[in-house]
Each structure stands twice: as C-alpha cells, then as structure tokens.
C-alpha cells in the first residue's frame, strides 16, 4: 500500500513539473517539442519488455512482442525524426533572441 501511495505522490509532483516545463516556447519549436515528448513516451517500450519477459501463454507472448515492436518504433522513429527537424533550422543567435521574445 505504501508503495502505491508513494507512486501516487510521484505522479502528482511529476504532473505539476510537466505543466511548469512548457511555457513560452517559440512557434518554431512547437513541432520538435511535440515530436520529442512523443519519443519520450516511447519509454512504454520498457513496459513491453517486462510484459513479454513475464509472459507464459503464447498469446500474451505475441501481444507483448507487438508491444515491443511498437514501442521500439515509437522511440527510434520519434527521436530520429525530431533530430532531423531540428537539424533543419540553425538560426544565428541574434535571430534566436528575436524569436524568443516574439
């Protein structure tokens, strides 16, 4: 029970942190930011690994396998595409300053 409670505490504080993390982001970075967080929730792959590893019945194994496949694609594709996006704009700092205010 205590474990669950502490997990709940972590959940609540992490939620507040998530809310605070995003504020006044320039338009330019909306899509990359979305794409990067999208890659981060690919951490679900961890769950897929655990499920697959603890699976006895073949059907659960199959489901777990698909989960792992999905998760891996989410992670790799997500970070990769974000990196490509960000690679495309390299504004010189002075402009960057301007952007951030605007």
């Amino acid at each position: 029970m205590q474990i669950l409670l502490t997990q709940l505490a972590i959940f609540i504080i992490a939620a507040f942190l998530g809310f605070e993390l995003i504020s006044r982001v320039p338009n330019l970075l909306h899509t990359p930011l979305m794409s990067a967080t999208n890659a981060i929730h690919g951490v679900i792959l961890v769950g897929g690994m655990i499920t697959l590893a603890s699976a006895e019945s073949p059907i659960i194994k199959a489901v777990g396998f698909i989960a792992v496949f999905f998760g891996a694609a989410n992670v790799v594709g997500g970070f990769w595409v974000t990196n490509r996006m960000l690679g495309m704009f390299r504004p010189p700092v002075k402009k960057v300053k301007k952007r951030r205010e605007g």
Binding site: Q7, F11, A14, A15, L17, G18, F19, L21, I22, V25, N27, L28, L29, H30, T31, P32, L33, M34, A36, T37, N38, I40, H41, G42, V43, I44, V46, G47, G48, M49, I50, A53, A55, E56, I59, I60, G64, I66, A67, V68, F69, F70, A72, A73, N74, G77, G78, F79, W80, V81, N83, R84, M85, L86, F89, P91, V96, R99, R100, G102
Partner: protein, 468 residues
C-alpha cells in the same frame, strides 16, 4: 526492483526533464533531444537487469524490427510529411500501452493475483491507449490525404460519442468488479472496451479539419503519455510513471500553446469539427468574378519603377514548387536597384511550424530579413508592393470576417491589404489548405494575379525586373 535499476531510472528521468528544458530554446533544442534519447537508452539498459533472460532473444528481435522501421521511416519522410509521421509514432506508443495493459489483465485474470490498482488502471490504460492509437491512425490518413480528408461529420455525432464513452465505462466497471454487472466475463468485457475505445478514437478525430491536425496530434501525444503513466501503475514501474506523466502534462500545455498560436480555441476544434474543405462551395462562383490577370512583364515593370519597399510572403506553394532559389534572386535583384526587401513569415505558413524559415535559410536569405507576424504587420502601411508566392490562408482577410465561419476564422493573418499593391503568384484561383476563397483575388485595382508555377513565375519576374 533492483537498486541499480531504480537509480538508473532516476537518471533517465532527470535526462528526460533536462532534455525537455533544453528543447524550449532554439540554440539548445537539438542537444536536448539527444539528452532525452540518452535517457531512454539508460532506461532500456537498466530494464534488462530486472527481466528474465530467456526472453531476451524475442525482445531483441521485436525491438530491432521496430527500431529499423522507425529509423527508416524517420529518415525517408519528407519534411512536409513530418507531422503525420509524428502521428504515426504516437499511435504506436498508444497501441503498445493498450496491448501491455491487456496482456497484464489476461495474465492476472488467468494467473490470479488480482490487485486493486491494476484492476482500475488496466481499463484506463486500454481506453486512453486505444483512443490515442486509433485517433493517430486517422490523423495520419488525413494528413497523408489517403482518407477522411476534410471534415467527416454525421448527425448526432456528439451523442453517439457520448453513448460509446458511457458503454466503455460500464464495461470497464464490469471488468473491475469481475463481471458483476453484466453477463460478460471480465476478459471479454476488457476486449470489448479495447474495440469500443478504438471506435471512439476514430469518431473523435474524423470530424476535425486538416488545418487543426497538428493540434490534435499534440493532444493525442499527451494521451499516450497518460496511457504510459497508467501502465506504469499497472506494472509498478517508476520510469513509466515519471516519463509518462511528464509527457502527459507537458503535452497538454503544449497543445494549448499550439492552439492559441494557430488562433483556434481547443474546445472549438474538438467539439465543433470545423469543415476544412468548404472549397468546393466557393469554386463555382469564382469563374464569373473578374480578376486583374497580369503577366510577369507587367509585374517586373511595376516592381522596378513604382516600388521602394517590397515585402515577400511565402507560403506552402513555394515549398511545393521548390522556388526558394528564384525568390532569393528576386531579393538580390530588387536590392541591387536600391529597394528594401523584407520577408513576412506567418507562424503556420507551409505545412509545419518553421517550414518557411527552413526553406529560406536553406536558400541563404539572411535571418534579419525574416519578420514574424507581429513584426511585419506594422510594416505594410508604408509598403509599395507585397509579393505573395504560393500562399493563401495566411494572407486571407476572410479569417477576420465575422460573418464567415471558415476553418481559419479567428486565425491572425498577415494584413497585406494595407500595402499599396498586392501581387499573387500562384497557378490558379483555387484556395489553399483551408479551402477558403480569398476576397483579395477580386480586388482588381489593388491586386495583380500572376497565374504561374511559383518557380517559373519568379524567374520570369526577375528577368522582367532586370530589363524593366
């Protein structure tokens, strides 16, 4: 739970957080993405130490396949197609969460060991995960213009969704209470929950217009984060809880940011389901209405003789025609004649945020010539000519016309009408992404329409300016 693994998870979480922090500023964004990726690697390696090794092979194969698919698709995808690519990855994540919860449920059901937490979080994960999966698939199809393009609506849509959602809740409760409510076995009802949730996801997204898709994807992204967190409770795994929660929360805020940047209240997007293809309606009466159709020569002459200050507004068409090179030449030519040239970049010009900035910097346009929406609008009153290349929605005054309810209504647009003359370079009178006809086309004494492909048209204009 091994200590080392747990500590590694904390490191991973910290890397995620720092990564997101750095993604808020252009200079540090790329390193932020890298840091988050490193955190992911840490989390995955740490997990290897807490699972049975006999399944490592199977896991390896699945992960490798997924990685390859992800990498290849991410490398191949066109820049303009990136939003739908993100949607696809997001859907996969949501699907994974749903599947994990499902198998955990079957596992506990068969293997016993029912825990109250799992009982509640499993259906939740399945619901959110499935909605995110199905919704993302639809978003992908829409943006790829493979299906459901525009806004697909049918009568009583909202009521149907509400009933569906209610049914899901009842079935979930039935599953939680071990089949006490309905004559359906827990496992069966959970499976039905999954299917119903998929339907719900589809129904929620099909009515939404393409212009709003980036926002919807961001919202679904937050959902998937939530699903991951929920599955963290199911599995009692901390990195899932932390990572998922942070994405869920930050994704929600980011969605609000985007919707306000595109000038669309979130509620309106989700519940109104604005039509994004009213174009058909408009097209008919276009032909009759007269426009000031000019050739490149006339445009070049006017620019050469009559203008001192010129603003160029690029749009999606510039990207399609890959006309950034000629546009750069036009800038040079005009400046060589001592004219001032600025570029007005609308936040949503093109098909992804930053789309135009990318193209123009590629072409070598210096950054201090690129003006944001707020910065350029004050410039128009003393501008002699605005050249609009392959853009429509971002300069469409209809967006601020209270009498019209269009997909772009309420979106702040570039106020080009303020300038002395407006020159459109596009292939036809057909409207843009949002399918809204542009009154400026028909303002014959202010507007010149140069019907041509953006690239070719610009090249001709450059010539004309040089000679004229």
């Amino acid at each position: 739970m091994q200590v080392a693994t747990f500590l590694a998870y904390l490191v991973a979480a910290a890397l995620f957080i720092v990564g997101i922090r750095r993604l808020r500023k252009p200079e540090t964004a790329r390193s932020g993405n890298t840091l988050a990726a490193v955190g992911m690697v840490v989390a995955l390696i740490a997990t290897l130490f807490v699972i049975h090794f006999q399944d490592l092979l199977l896991i390896g194969v699945g992960a490798l396949l997924g990685a390859v698919v992800g990498a290849v698709s991410a490398q191949r995808v066109q820049m303009t197609a990136m939003p739908q690519m993100v949607a696809a990855y997001n859907g996969l994540g949501g699907g994974a969460a749903a599947l994990i919860a499902l198998s955990e449920f079957i596992h506990t059901e068969t293997g016993g060991g029912e825990s109250v937490v799992a009982a509640i979080t499993v259906p939740l994960t399945i619901l959110v995960g499935s909605v995110s999966f199905a919704g993302s698939v639809i978003a992908f199809l829409k943006l790829q213009e493979l299906a459901f393009s525009g806004s697909v609506t049918f009568p009583l849509q909202q009521i149907v969704n509400a009933l569906l959602f209610l049914g899901i809740l009842v079935l979930a409760l039935n599953a939680i209470l071990g089949g006490a409510i309905l004559p359906i076995s827990p496992v069966a009802s959970v499976v039905i929950v999954l299917i119903a949730s998929l339907m719900l996801g589809v129904l929620l997204v099909i009515p939404i217009g393409g212009a709003d898709m980036p926002i919807v994807i961001s919202l679904l992204n937050a959902f998937t984060g939530l699903a991951a967190a929920a599955s963290g409770f199911v599995l009692g795994n901390y990195i899932l809880i932390i990572g998922g929660t942070i994405v869920g929360a930050s994704g929600t805020i980011l969605t609000r940011l985007m919707s306000s940047a595109l000038g669309r209240p979130l509620g309106k997007i989700i519940f109104a389901g604005i039509a994004a293809s009213g174009s058909s309606k408009n097209n008919e009466d276009q032909e009759e209405r007269e426009v000031n159709d000019v050739n490149a020569g006339a445009v070049g002459e006017y620019l050469a003789d009559e203008t001192q200050k010129v603003v160029i507004v690029p749009g999606y068409g510039l990207a399609v025609a890959q006309a950034q090179g000629p546009m750069y030449n036009l800038m040079e030519t005009l400046e060589s004649q001592g004219k001032e040239v600025l570029f007005g970049i609308h936040p949503v010009a093109g098909r992804m945020p930053g789309h135009m900035n990318v193209l123009l910097t590629e072409a070598g346009v210096p950054y201090d010539k690129l003006y944001d929406l707020e910065d350029i609008n004050p410039e128009f009153p003393d501008t002699d000519a605005v050249i609009i290349v392959g853009a429509n929605d971002v300069v469409n005054p209809a967006a601020n016309d209270p009498d019209q309810n269009t997909p772009i209504s309420g979106m702040p647009v570039l106020d080009v009408g303020q300038a002395e003359k407006v020159i459109f370079i596009k292939r036809s009178l057909s409207p843009g992404f949002a399918g809204v006809d542009n009154p400026l086309f028909y303002d014959t004494d202010k507007t010149m329409m140069l019907f041509s492909d953006a690239k070719q048209g610009l090249q001709e204009v450059v010539e004309a300016v040089k000679n004229g």
